[in-house]
């Protein structure tokens, strides 16, 4: 008796294994969902880290209105998302619809991996809609936009007797406050802004410099402005901000530090409003201090339909709902997530009425002076080279001047 049973168990286990192996991310599978529904798979990164349930709510609402469609969300952290997406596209296993940031949209648009969309477009802010056009074709829809502001812990400022930041602050004010607020004995740090590519191109614009020359053929940041920006960023590590050896740069290190009330000022994105709503201290935001200029980083994400999708119409219907429906607008505004890209500014009004933070107007004030990341073909190599050289300066392995010169030389080779 024992033998047939054991054989049966083995066979069942083997079948299960085989089935689960097949069902792992296969674009060719014809999963009809419940009651013959059409399944739309959607790959994304932007709900990761605290907004997952908000995206689920939007999807559930879409499914209620479209009972014939089952949306299956696949979330990957930003750090791994583009590796996974690239591999999925190369292997033909990408989802029906997926998310792209602006920097990566061009590569995918040129590759022919994206399906052309047929949308009215009137619901969207025109400039954001245009950002996802390529050679006259609408290959993507804007999904959200966001910017970076200066978060600060009001309780720490009050305890240290330091006046709170204002929109008129410059680097010098931030530096002085950060030094006054840093109390290493208590484990409290004054400031957090890593010396990375994304902080550097922004600080460079604040210092009045330019990353590339006008025609984009060479770097322009090995300049007094570039050195000023790099000095500003690299000088924080170990003085008013934890060093890499103390944990800086590891995932969630900065958000944990701020949440625990051990960080007075934090340069971060407005997508953190929701995740920080429940912290047990008072906090607010201001537009980031500039130097000779004001300049805030702005990011925009888009969504696209795969050219290989078997259900492009259903996929597009989901994306239109995801980007411009009233449900999405309400969910995004209530959650304090990235903002919806809609043209009707009146719908954004409820966003300003919520707290924390009290000064939500800063989110829109920051949009008045924005700087976009420089985009080149070998984007990731450029970002890594700049981040590595700035890291050398921050850790004291190179002088700031040497690090900036080396970074410029390395980026020049990539152009």
């Amino acid at each position: 008796m024992a033998h047939p049973i054991r054989l049966g168990t083995v066979a069942a286990a083997a079948t299960l294994l085989a089935l689960s192996a097949c069902s792992q991310g296969s674009a060719t599978r014809e999963d009809s969902g419940e009651d013959g529904q059409v399944v739309v798979r959607y790959m994304e990164f932007s709900s990761n880290g605290g907004n997952e349930q908000h995206l689920e709510e939007i999807a559930a609402s879409f499914e209620r209105e479209n009972p014939g469609i089952d949306v299956q969300i696949e979330t990957t952290p930003y750090a791994d998302y583009f590796t996974k997406l690239q591999t999925a596209v190369a292997g033909g296993t990408e989802a029906d619809a997926f998310e792209l940031n602006y920097e990566n949209f061009v590569t995918y648009a040129e590759s022919g991996a994206l399906a052309e969309l047929d949308v009215d477009g009137g619901a969207y802010t025109p400039s954001l809609l245009e950002a996802f056009q390529h050679d006259g074709a609408q290959l993507g829809l804007p999904e959200s936009f966001s910017d970076v502001v200066l978060f600060y812990n009001k309780d720490l400022f009050a305890a240290a007797g330091v006046p709170e930041p204002t929109a008129d602050w410059t680097w010098e004010d931030e530096r002085a406050a950060a030094e006054a607020l840093t109390d290493t004995a208590a484990g409290v740090w004054g400031d957090y802004q890593p010396a990375t590519f994304h902080e550097f191109y922004k600080a460079l614009a604040q210092a009045g410099g330019q990353f590339l020359t006008e025609d984009g053929s060479a770097t322009a940041f090995n300049s007094p402005e570039g050195i000023a920006a790099a000095t500003w960023l690299a000088g924080k590590s170990g003085t008013v901000m934890p060093t890499e050896a103390e944990g800086a740069g590891t995932p969630d290190f900065d958000s944990t530090l701020f949440r625990e009330g051990k960080l007075a000022m934090w340069h971060s994105g407005i997508w953190m409003f929701g995740p920080l709503a429940d912290v047990p201290f008072e906090w607010d935001v201001v537009v980031e201090p500039g130097d000779v200029n004001q300049a805030s980083a702005m990011f925009t994400n888009g969504v696209v339909v795969s050219a290989n999708s078997e259900h492009p119409e259903e996929a597009q219907a989901w994306l239109e709902f995801l980007t411009s429906s009233d449900t999405t607008v309400d969910t995004r505004l209530n959650a304090g997530w990235e903002l919806p890209p809609i043209a009707d500014q009146d719908k954004l009004a409820p966003y300003l009425e919520q707290t924390p933070p009290a000064n939500r107007q800063a989110v829109f004030d920051a949009l008045e002076e924005t700087v976009l990341p420089p985009v080149i073909v070998r984007q990731q190599e450029m970002q890594d080279a700049v981040t590595e050289e700035l890291g050398n300066a921050a850790a004291g392995r190179k002088t700031v001047e040497q690090a900036v010169a080396d970074a410029a030389a390395r980026v020049d080779e990539l152009l």
């Binding site: 590796t83 690239q86 040129e110 590759s111 022919g112 060093t243 944990g247």
Partner: protein, 320 residues
Amino acid sequence: MSTSTAPRTQRQLPPSPPPKRRHRSTLRYGGNRLRRAGIVALFLAPSLIPLTLFTLVPMVSSLWVALHDWNLITPMEFVGLANFRELLTDGDTWAAFGHTLGYIAGYLPLVYLLGLAAALALNTALRGRNVFRAAYFLPVVTSWVVVALLWRWLLSPANGLVNHVLGLVGIDGPGWWTDPAWAMPSVILASAWKDLGFVMIILLAGLQAIPGELYDAARVDGTSAWQRFRHVTLPLLSPSTFFVVVISLINGFQVFDQVYVMTGGGPAGATEVVVQQIYDLTFRYGRAGDASALSWLLFAVVLVVTIVQVRGQRRWVTYA
């Protein structure tokens, strides 16, 4: 390696030569050749089909990819040998090979000496030695990701156990994986810890294949323990040592998992080994053509090194 699988009861016997004529004699009874070939194919299929699909086909394809510019998304563009030319003139390639050789230079002696020490200790009549053998072998069968995360935490400069203990005795521990000078030693330490059990098992089998009479004879000749180790154990262990060196060198050239998890090639590129470079080129920078070309350069280097070793073994490997 017949030594590694020799049962302990046979330790007194010299290794028996392989029965050379068996093949011919079975052929005579085998019926027609076609049917035999079919049976052979049937038995080979379970290993041959996966090997073809997942090793041979990808290998040949990667040679094809190496002749193209390809970012995995847009169509491939034929460039001939340009990728190889570019790699050979790129300082990053030489740096990656340099880091890999640095890793091997630290890892190989360390893992061999630790493995030899463990094998010698556990070859004695120690109480509970089977428990120790299992304990030393446990890391070998543990996932690299788990081990690397564990070591990353142990060696964490800010709040790791190692620096905490060093702090208790008044030593200011280094920035293990955040300091470029210490990052490679950190990786080497973790690798040697994980792999020493494997080396130990191979050497242990080798030690047990050494006939006891040789030690008895050496004792009668009035040798010291060191002389017996130097002139009996080491020479007769040399086939096992050779195997360990060949395998460890190949593994050393292919080092990746622990680097990817512990340092990701950093800080400041200090642990950017060849396979990490191949990974970054493909999946971070969308340069699959360059990455494939680099894979073939690595293959060529490993092949040459292995041929040199196999040729050179005559000088120092003693087969009893």
